[in-house]
Symmetry: D2
Subunit: 293 residues, 4 copies
């Protein structure tokens, strides 16, 4: 059947994607238009779907990593909050992030000279390259893609990076757990320069409040300045996502200079200086989860 | 990603197939391993899935046409009940049946010299050839595949076929309705020789009892001998499937000669002479649906 | 809110019943109108739903026991096949069957003087009495309801019953397993008179073929005459249900006298003499499962 | 069955709640423990479920109105943002809000002397009273419950209320649409005193961005000061909820006095002064939806 003329697939009721959230008693369902790609890598099951409203949906072991229409919320908040805190980020390491969305955001910063994407699973990279628009910067000359275990890879660096961004899967899925240990955060500290900045996705405080607390407290035990911040992420569990910012030097609100974001006006879909500051205002129940006050 | 080594995909919770039965208040769900093929033909949406227990699952517009593990129940009952009633079936027409299962069963009969498979949708044929083991006889020299509307195609024949088998989709789906009209049955009558035999799938008497009655009564108004018969079909709605046998000459129980099935012993998985006779014993509520007594 | 005027509840999309079949990779879903009753008894979770098409739906531990519209298929086949084999059944024991459907069918036989319903769970009896129309004969003077473990209760009887009917839940659910042991079948044999008849529901040969084989072979090792028979059961897994008939004396086809069923004409919705005989005609793959030829 | 001892119901896989979000291609599912109450009122279907993690779940026409564990996010943001803007709110009107959560939050403010809850459907009030802990203040002497159409009820008031809070259902569900018209907002304006404050839930900007824009722009055409603000709402569609604040006099950030919230410290679970200010920082794509720059 070499030359099938393409027709728009009708979305029907029969192809239902169901993601069970932590605890197993709730989740999201999506009526899919098609399943474009499925592959069992040595690390995980990789799937790429097309959804009539969400566009491409990328899933690892049945957990949604991103959808085309709302990934910007997550990637902008994970990347720009730390990067705008640094006066001149040149060397950036992204651990995880195989879909490429974080890399794309990092490379918006013209100061960046070297952006290493350390994604353990080469099959994620291949799938992203083929199906996901987020992979747009994989071949940028400043980008370098490394397929190694981030927890091991980081060990070789000392006082090298201006920014490290942890764009991991869930601590309980695949190889995600390695990226939630105190030892790993210590190695990130060591790999950062003295004015380096750090961010990590640290799960949602509704279904996974235990992990929010663990990740925040471990990072906080390593870095002198550690702050949880939050953003909407509409197709992730609960829609309420937490990130943790850390630095040896810069306080993410007190030291924030909104002028740096000026040249990005009109380019970003989520992040702006007011959102930057607002994201550190935590609801009382979230403060309680991380033991703040 | 040219040379991916194949690994067995893990079936997870996320890929759920849901078929709503007539009425929309119940249905079957299947956790799929993968979706191998999706295509929107001019007639319908064609999907081929792999299920961890059922093997290949073939679906049109979200309605299950067959699964690899139980299609034999349906195809054997649809084909062998009429074919064993004929002393020497040479020319056989199958209308619908694009998966090839009915053709495979027809060609088990050594007397058959010409088996025409008239499937309206060439994309079903292509998909079956590529993915469905039922297509095993598409290239048999006695087989001829024609992509035409069966209701039109039949009109050109007079006194030609020894057997006609209607292996249609639902009357309410795609082009299935054309194959449930009185005019169509009259054309079948005309195309059959004087000792010709006929069978049609006529839906299930639980979710679709209206169609069982309509199809049976229309066929009965055309053929002197018309009998409803039944068989299990485990992944079809209700698991209880009806077929209608018709003939100008042979009564399906009184004229049945079990000796004809002897050479098939050990080859068939569902049909045997006792099952042939038993399939015409109808539960009281089914008799009532078709107005028998 | 003492005096709410009753309005017909609109069935919407939100109340979905999902029964996973053995293996966990497929099942049935039903859009429910309401959930009338839920109770956690010492043995199991008991639920009674109302479905817009199926009427009352009775479920134990999430496994459908019966729906109002098709329970007759199961209860008639389980009860009348053995009872019409006995010339004069007076004393009948039903083990399980707390919904009352088997009892109702047993009491259609005017010869019956004593029908004991031994249902382990009194909360099933209470729920059935309140919600299920199948419980219509609970207060019949010939009926006696006993809430005991059937596997223990049977032990006290010797040469007493004319018929024993095992209307159990799945061997893997709740207390069902006790009713699938060889010792239990031996006690049934002992409790039956020399011309006693026996039937048991023995699961479906599609999702649960292992249990069909085990149950059939264990019964067969105890009774001189043992035959598997089958019937449609549209809301049970696969729609294809197996029962096992056993007797010390009567062969269910050779000794069958269709005259006995004459007075029931017009009363039963599934069973008739042709269906009785037909139900013993097994598809080849079912014969293979039970090791018959 | 008068005296059933209560046992904890086991949550199984069979009782699945599915809410389809706007567009019908995605939604949330919840495994429920039980359905406590279902009633078809003249306005809508009312259901109250118990979920193993979320506690009571209240649903109208299959759309989740609240769950016990996260309703505080919504009710605190809807109520306290406007109420802390007013120096001395005495008379407050809540339209909708039949679960009682908004009333509970309003009555935390000691200045409030009269809080009218205008809920069109008395059966919602009855169900809330019986099953929902949010109804805790229904019998407070300062509370007055009125069962009328809010869009009509508001018309009689002139220069009366210090705060009006619109806690409606979706504009497309039940009677929700009446509460999204320009005429209605004009009547709210008229009913407010010259320093009155107003808030309305205005849907989510992911699945329902059209309604966010419509509601915001209509309110904005009536009030001199109108600001969209946002908060997490973990079991609502997308988890990202919008509210619209309006006032004739007070700007919600410039005129905000955080001292007023001091006495509430330790009492609220979501709202605090930083969250108040942060909630008005809108992501770029939300600004675009409402036509802001």
């Amino acid at each position: 059947m070499a030359d099938i003329p393409e027709r728009e697939l009708r979305t029907m009721n029969h192809l239902m994607y169901m993601e069970y959230y932590t605890g197993g008693n709730a989740g999201i369902f999506m009526k899919m238009k098609r399943l474009l790609h499925s592959y069992q890598s040595p690390y995980q099951r990789i799937d790429i779907f097309e959804h009539p409203d969400f566009g491409m949906v990328f899933s690892l072991d049945g957990i949604t990593m991103m959808t085309e229409v709302d990934e910007f919320m997550y990637h902008e908040m994970l990347v720009h909050v730390p990067l705008f805190m640094h006066p001149d980020p040149k060397k950036v390491l992204i651990i995880g992030g195989g879909d490429g969305g974080s890399l794309r955001e990092v490379l918006r910063h013209p100061s960046v000279e070297e952006a290493i994407l350390c994604e353990i699973d080469p099959y994620v990279i291949d799938a992203a390259r083929k199906y996901l628009p987020t992979s747009v910067k994989f071949d940028d000359p400043r980008a370098k893609i490394v397929n190694e275990n981030g927890a091991e890879y980081i060990k070789q660096f000392n006082d090298y990076f201006d920014a490290i961004i942890i764009d991991s899967t869930d601590p309980t899925a695949g190889e995600g757990g390695h990226l939630f240990t105190k030892e790993f955060y210590q190695n990130c500290y060591k790999a950062l320069r003295e004015d380096g900045v750090f961010s990590a996705e640290t799960e949602d405080p509704f279904y996974d409040k235990g992990w929010v607390a663990i990740a925040y407290n471990r990072i906080s035990s390593v870095f002198p300045i550690t702050k949880l911040y939050m953003g909407f992420m509409t197709t992730y569990p609960s829609g309420m996502w937490s990130y943790t910012y850390a630095s040896k030097k810069y306080h993410p609100v007190d030291d924030y200079d909104p002028e740096r974001a000026k040249p990005f006006e009109g380019e970003l879909k989520y992040y702006n200086p007011e959102v930057h500051r607002a994201s550190f205002a935590l609801p009382n129940f979230v403060k309680e989860i991380i033991g703040e006050k």
